[in-house]
């Protein structure tokens, strides 16, 4: 039984009387003890998708249809994504590290206060003293200096702030941590530190991390499985090595081919064209206007995500027999 089962989720934004379908009929599952990546260009819907997984659905974002089943340990009820029950699991069973989260730390309050506010909001019958000790031991465990609690956010570097947020998100050992672009604004050395921290957490607690990023290098180094999103659809899901060595979807192929590598001096080609306007997306397969191999069926029918091998699924008419 998978940790997370997502069935036909669709979510849309309403803006100025027009509707943008950010996530369109997405289905996949995420297992326990794995690092799962969701990659794609800006605007492909990955951030919206993880917000939906976390249950953070507020206007102008609306859930159209679909179901998410969470199979957490020690819980008898099967939660599904309605505001009421999933939010009670926030921070304890499922944690969310949003984009730019290092900036949510209140600049005029010490880090200690940040953790205290967390306790107030999610006090689980734990006395403040016990909670505080838990925080100290957790920080120690993660290799972060305990005196960080006395600092103000502006005294810390971007990377350190990000690690504080990650420490907070993993404090109660949630089974699922969702991180949206955790390393985007960070320098290369710091990026490594943050990713190492996440891997350390995953190694220790054997939980699942879902990471959203547009940087395929991060994905290659960090994830065990990757889903590629395009214009609100998942177009390919595979194990990392399989995805990079043998990409099946035309978009994934072009994407992997366009990545510069040290030592690689051949001419790289960008993906021709640009992503579609999601207020009036193309018919059939949303990638067909940019696809070299598009056939008639691609214009008429939307392809479904189908398993080609046990670990590799693609949504493309070309690969269906």
């Amino acid at each position: 039984m998978s940790l997370l089962e997502i069935y036909e989720i669709s979510a849309y934004y309403v803006h100025n009387n027009s509707t943008t379908k950010a996530v369109d009929n997405v289905s996949f599952s995420v297992e326990e003890n794995e690092i799962f990546g969701i990659a794609g260009e800006s605007g492909c819907g990955k951030s919206t998708l993880v917000k939906t997984i976390y249950g953070f659905i507020e206007p102008p974002l609306y859930l159209d249809k679909g179901k998410i089943i969470y199979n957490f340990k020690d819980s008898n009820e099967i939660n599904s994504v309605t505001k009421k029950n999933i939010s009670s699991n926030w921070w304890k069973k499922i944690s969310y590290i949003p984009q730019g989260s290092m900036n949510v730390l209140n600049p005029v309050r010490r880090i200690k206060k940040f953790f205290r506010n967390l306790w107030k909001a999610h006090s689980m019958n734990l006395s403040y003293e016990k909670y505080y000790n838990l925080v100290i031991s957790h920080l120690h465990h993660l290799g972060l200096p305990a005196d960080i609690l006395e600092y103000y956010p502006h005294q810390l570097s971007g990377g350190m702030k990000q690690r504080v947020v990650i420490a907070a998100a993993s404090l109660f050992h949630p089974e699922l941590i969702v991180a949206d672009e955790p390393t985007s604004a960070l320098d290369v050395g710091v990026q490594l530190d943050v990713l190492r921290l996440l891997i350390k957490i995953q190694n220790e607690y054997k939980n699942t991390i879902i990471i959203v990023a547009h940087d395929m290098s991060v994905m290659a180094n960090f994830c065990s499985r990757i889903a590629i999103m395009y214009a609100g659809n998942i177009v390919e899901v595979a194990e990392t090595k399989a995805l990079f060595k043998n990409p099946l979807h035309p978009y994934t192929k072009l994407l992997i081919d366009s990545l510069p590598k040290i030592g690689d001096i051949r001419e790289l080609k960008a993906i021709p064209g640009s992503p579609p306007d999601l207020t009036s997306p193309p018919s059939g397969c949303k990638f067909h206007p940019r696809c070299h191999f598009a056939k008639n069926i691609c214009i008429k029918e939307e392809p479904n995500l189908k398993k080609i091998t046990i670990d590799h699924a693609v949504a493309c008419h070309l690969l269906e027999r």
Binding site: D187, L192, D193, N221, L259
Partner: protein
């Protein structure tokens, strides 16, 4: 001596002071940097470094947005502040990091291109102006029909950045100062802009100062590269050589930490035993008396903490590190 065709930065230093409560700390955002970039033949020079390295400060000094405290910058042998502003801007043009900030959201995108054509007297009547605008847009893979009458928010980041480049091309500049031009774009879109720079160097004889923290794209398009750390230029030379075989410990660190889009080359486990001691505040690293990397360098010696190293020449490059002292 013949005046060098291109930009010549000579011993430039820029000092800032930061007031923390009652103490006033000064630090050099750029410290004694000397660097030449030729425009004949054109070259793409990458200036790389992490945040706080001083690369943007240096770019702003080249563009005359701020003035160096020590040193001078020459263009074709003449001091840049001796140029008439319009004359100067005809030779050097900027590209900034955020294309949406580079344009006025309340104005149509073609306004600035139109202004450039008009103010530099490239063309007078309406038809010639439209023609020039179309030509420049075609050089970046677009055309006037595509952008006419549209506002910046109607474009994607990649398209808008292209339009910004088209505007810069109107005056047929010698030199483009591109400050992190692709950092705000998705990794998958960067290649198209960076390919464009390569193309423009060949077709338009344009030199580019490409400032970035992304070493992969720097490797891909640069002829030469300079690595900056806390205001100091620590290694400079041929790009493929330096990135293929980095000699300065800081460059080595950057290359080691660079993640590749190749699952066979994962690096995260490599660092498990290493501790990357991060300084809590940057300013303290600026204040170091000797080499700015002394606190983090695995090969640090006593002299590194006392004196800032000079440049040593080895293998066709300049390195600012005592490890290579013998090569003086």
């Amino acid at each position: 001596m013949n005046a060098m065709e291109g930009i010549s930065i000579k011993n430039v230093t820029k000092t800032y002071s930061q007031r923390i409560l009652f103490s006033k700390k000064t630090f050099n955002a750029v410290e004694n940097v000397s660097l030449d970039i030729t425009t004949d033949p054109p070259e793409i020079f990458s200036l790389v470094g992490e945040s706080g390295s001083g690369k943007s400060t240096l770019a702003n000094m080249i563009l005359q947005l701020i003035k160096p405290d020590i040193g001078e910058i020459l263009l074709n042998g003449k001091k840049i502040n001796d140029f008439e502003m319009l004359e100067f801007m005809k030779k050097i043009q900027p590209i900034f990091q955020d294309p949406f900030d580079s344009f006025d959201p309340m104005k149509k995108t073609d306004l600035f291109i139109y202004e450039t054509v008009k103010n530099f007297n490239i063309a007078r009547n309406k038809d010639s102006i439209n023609y020039i605008i179309d030509q420049c847009l075609q050089k970046v893979g677009l055309n006037y029909q595509m952008i006419k009458g549209r506002y910046p928010h109607e474009f994607s980041g990649g398209q808008l950045q292209r339009i910004a480049i088209a505007r810069a091309l109107v005056v047929k500049p010698l030199f483009l100062v591109a400050d992190e031009p692709v950092s705000m774009l998705d990794a998958s879109l960067r290649i198209s802009i960076v390919n464009l720079f390569k193309q423009l160097k060949e077709k338009e004889n344009l030199s580019v100062l490409y400032i970035t923290h992304d070493l992969s794209t720097a490797y891909y398009i640069s002829d030469r590269i300079g690595v900056m750390l806390r205001g100091n230029l620590v290694e400079i030379g041929n790009a493929k050589e330096i990135l293929g075989e980095p000699l300065h410990p800081y460059t080595q660190f950057l290359m080691k930490a660079l993640l590749e889009p190749d699952p066979d080359k994962t690096k995260i486990s490599l660092f498990d035993n290493e501790k990357n001691e991060e300084k809590m505040t940057e300013v303290s690293e600026y204040q170091l008396k000797g080499c700015k990397y002394a606190n983090r360098c695995p090969n640090v010696k006593k002299i590194c903490r006392e004196k800032n190293p000079e440049y040593y020449y080895i293998k066709n490059r300049k390195i600012k590190c005592f490890l290579y002292e013998e090569f003086k």
